[in-house]
Symmetry: C2
Subunit: 305 residues, 2 copies
């Protein structure tokens, strides 16, 4: 099972964290930008080639420290077709380095359209009898607002292609409560979604005790995380909001089970922009990212145990 | 205002409908597929070149009948980078033909990531002082599950770049009620979202009386549509579910205001696959699509008035 592979990689690295690859152009060191603009032009193509150099440096520095990377699709889509191409290139490169790939796309739609999204990232497409794999990541994020028939096509492909998903349950942003915290009969919407996650997760449980359907649960709401950990015992949590968004190491503890498993904590800016803090030079961006990933690993391990 | 442009195009064509461009490969006539596979290979590239020929034929046949087209991003993303390229090519072509472009992407995220998605489709990106437009459609669909701070970056760009969005409120699929129909204090979740839409729509109202923030309201739930029409008086409705999904012309009536405006009804398969019904030959797919678009227009106009 794909989630077993994630657990295996977490155990191998002794590190329950994932490095977000959200390459805003102002994260990229100036010398890399200048070089790319000189070679490709100061345009969408130049920007994405700068991002590619940056991503490659980060992956090279991180692949033996972190079990997984999480590219955020928005930061590639914003550069149009060139951005899409560099997203695919980044995914291929990270796969070759043995990293587990969680592609953060938050896709959602119904019926055959949800099937198409699932095929796009987790599955294969049938071209009059010839099977092709358009992307082939290990895992994607999914928005559950459309209900079961928007999620089951992904779950079906999790079973067929041995993949996993994280459904948004309680997100880390300030206004997440507008809908997610509303109370309906006796429980909050996020608890209702959590019950759906359990239903969607049925029949996908692997050797690790976890299933293919995980949940996004923000580090910024530890009380809700405590509740959700109890409801979704067999779901892995993808935890955004650590570091830059205000969630500290203590705040992520409720996302973990007593065995130290059950959650993977994301840091994007904290790792990617580590070189902007302290005495690092721009040219040391990768070294700084590695040092921050190691610091984060050690901090997480110390609070979980 | 972008929504005024939509209303203008609807009035010019006398047609409150939008043609969905959801090109599943088995929708594409066999002779087009064969030709593309022979030239480009029976692979992702061949499939997308077949889709491009098909889309071009459809747009040529429809551009003077319908005011708008709605490409469904999933059916391009499923062919990887080649699919993305043909999506951009299709959008450019439809823009040149004077069509209003609603890109159905259902994007959603928080803060700076929502900004990135908005820039990707509605706005421009700043590359160290050089502004580039990655895609530039008129309008996108947005999923509201993350609340206000996931939607406001899009609304901001609607104001800056004169664009529009449709937020998912009540979707057309069978399980849409699992979350959307839950009752919280006195109202359903979809009514809560509708109230959010009103809030997000403030300050964006154009000459037509409608604002930049519209709502997706499925044709399959006419009672809910009646309620929602009353709550969101200044929002245009994008109405899926007509035809193939079971919603009839009568069912869409509650989505319209008394002046015959306020809604645009989508048909994808009904128009795209019109050639598969009746005595059409494959080669007549575009002619058949045009005939169905005219039939749908006349049916809608007859029930609204």
């Amino acid at each position: 099972m794909s989630v077993d592979l994630l657990v295996q990689k977490i155990n191998e690295k002794g590190n329950p964290s994932v490095a977000g690859l959200d390459p805003k152009i102002d994260y990229v060191p100036g010398y890399i930008r200048k070089k790319a603009y000189a070679e490709y032009g100061q345009n969408l193509k130049g920007a994405t080639e700068a991002i590619w150099e940056y991503n490659k440096g980060l992956i090279d520095a991180l692949y033996d420290v972190v079990p997984a990377v999480k590219p955020q699709s928005a930061f590639y889509e914003m550069y149009g077709i060139h951005g899409e191409e560099v997203l695919h290139r980044t995914i291929s490169y990270a796969k070759k380095k043995g990293l587990y790939i969680i592609l953060d796309v938050k896709r959602n739609d119904i019926g055959s359209t949800a099937e198409a999204y699932s095929k796009a990232y987790l599955g294969k497409v049938d071209i009059d009898g010839v099977e092709c794999e358009p992307c082939g990541v290990d895992c994607v994020t999914v928005n559950p607002y459309l209900g079961t028939d928007g999620v089951m096509p992904f779950v079906k492909d999790c079973k067929t292609y041995d993949k996993a998903i994280f459904a948004l349950v309680k997100t880390s942003n300030p206004s997440s409560g507008e809908l997610q915290d509303l109370i309906t009969d006796v429980s909050h919407i996020y608890e209702k979604v959590a019950e759906c996650v359990n239903k969607w997760n049925e029949g996908t449980i692997g050797k690790s005790g976890y299933g293919a359907v995980g949940a996004v649960v923000g580090a910024t709401y530890p009380e809700q995380a405590t509740t959700l950990r109890k409801i979704m015992k067999q779901s892995y949590f993808l935890v955004p909001g650590y570091g830059a968004q205000g969630g500290g190491a203590k705040d992520v503890v409720p996302c973990f089970n007593d065995d130290g498993l059950g959650a993977i904590v994301n840091s994007s800016r904290g790792i990617m922009c580590a070189y902007k803090k302290g005495d690092w030079k721009e040219e040391q961006f990768a070294e700084a990212a590695r040092a921050e990933a190691i610091r984060m690993r050690d901090e997480l391990v110390s609070v979980i145990k």
